[in-house]
């Protein structure tokens, strides 16, 4: 039951469509009692507003909607190690006063490995409640269409970054308690284009049993990134909040739904988006 929660606890802050996606910690988490996960999510997104460099919320001149289908594969090859693969397909619609366009393109593929060196029960036992550490290492491949290859004046066909993203995160978590939780802090650097683009991210989530077969989890995340410009490093940031409910249909099937949005309070120079996600997965 808790396995479904772990996906929600590690949910990302939502990133703008121009940036090649955000930094999910482990979108296809496999529980200790499972060996593999195959699933799919449908993420409907819509632009709400934008935050300017001073943090003020401004209206959008371009209306933005998107639907992202993401294939999920998770495999736990060892009690202490698992790997996660996400393959997105992005459909975007953009409309301004004078132009309207849409495009469907692959997004950036991600592979993430999670290493949990201490097994929770053996290391500390349920009684102590001490955090259990884990390390996540990931690679984002530029399989989406970057801005430099865009053929659309509104950027509807931009679905990825130009660079390769290398990420690492430290995690502290309790995944078998009555109220499981997870905290993470990490970094991603974009390489391969001649310039290094750094980003830092932090997130946390907590969940619990809502009713029989139902779980509920909430998460918050923050990401700060920098891009090189003629005047130095220019920062941007965004903060996301998400609430996710999961229903376990049978032992090997589960479905989940979540709603989330970027929060303007800590957002700078970024599009604020709302998201509704539906997911289904088979686990064994």
């Amino acid at each position: 039951m808790w396995a479904a929660l772990l996906i929600a606890l590690a949910s990302p802050a939502w990133a703008g469509s121009c940036c090649g996606g955000s930094t999910p910690l482990l979108p296809a988490h496999v529980d200790r009692t499972e060996s593999a996960l195959f699933g799919m999510t449908a993420d409907v997104s819509f632009g709400l507003a934008r935050s300017d460099p001073s943090g003020r919320v401004r209206p959008l001149s371009i209306q933005e909607q998107g639907l992202t289908w993401t294939g999920l594969v998770g495999w736990r090859w060892d009690p202490k190690g698992q790997i996660s693969l996400t393959v997105p397909w992005v459909i975007n619609h953009r409309a301004s006063e004078s132009l309207s366009s849409w495009a469907a393109q692959p997004g950036d593929v991600r592979v993430t490995a999670l290493w949990e060196p201490l097994l929770e029960s053996r290391a500390y036992g349920h009684e102590t409640g001490a955090p259990v550490p884990a390390l996540a290492i990931g690679v984002r491949a530029p399989t989406g269409r970057p801005w430099s290859a865009s053929e659309d004046p509104l950027g509807a066909d931009i679905t990825g970054g130009r660079d390769v993203g290398l990420s690492a995160s430290l995690v502290a978590q309790r995944t078998t308690d009555d109220i499981p939780w997870s905290l993470s802090i990490g970094a991603e650097v974009g390489v391969g284009t001649g310039e290094v683009t750094p980003a830092l991210h932090a997130g946390g989530g907590v969940g619990g049993l809502l009713a029989e077969r139902w779980t509920l989890a909430g998460s918050l995340s923050f990401e700060q990134s920098w891009a090189r410009s003629t005047t130095g490093w220019t920062p941007s940031s965004h903060t996301g909040a998400q609430l996710q409910a999961t229903y376990s249909v049978f032992r090997h099937y589960r479905v989940w739904a979540s709603v989330g949005a970027d929060l303007p309070a800590l957002g700078r120079e970024h599009t604020l988006e709302g998201h509704t996600v539906l997911g289904v997965a088979w686990v064994r």
Binding site: D52, I62, R94, E97, L154, T230, E269, H270
Partner: protein, 120 residues
Amino acid sequence: MRAVLLTVLVSACASPGASSPFDVQAQSDPSPATAGASITWALDVTRTDDGAAVEGAELTVTPWMPAMGHGLSDVVLVTEVGGGSYEAACTFSMSGSWELQVHVAADGDEGDDVVIVEIE
């Protein structure tokens, strides 16, 4: 007036312009400039040392959004109007702070200037 001030920002705050023999000022039409609309930029090029208008220059304009680390894939076409004035047209795919990175070549001299503009 406020909208004009937003879109006419000289390059004094940008490092490339500090040593450039040319100064570039830009004004948008329409003003304020909005994302998703075709914007025509009136670019006035002058000599940094004496303020003289620069005619017959070759201009390359590169829009760049620093916070997002991206530009526009389309090449911006520049035409000379006369009297040191030039026009460049482009459509911005996002709202926010953008740079117009302008490379100027005239009379054997070359220089870069950056105009920071706010796209609504």
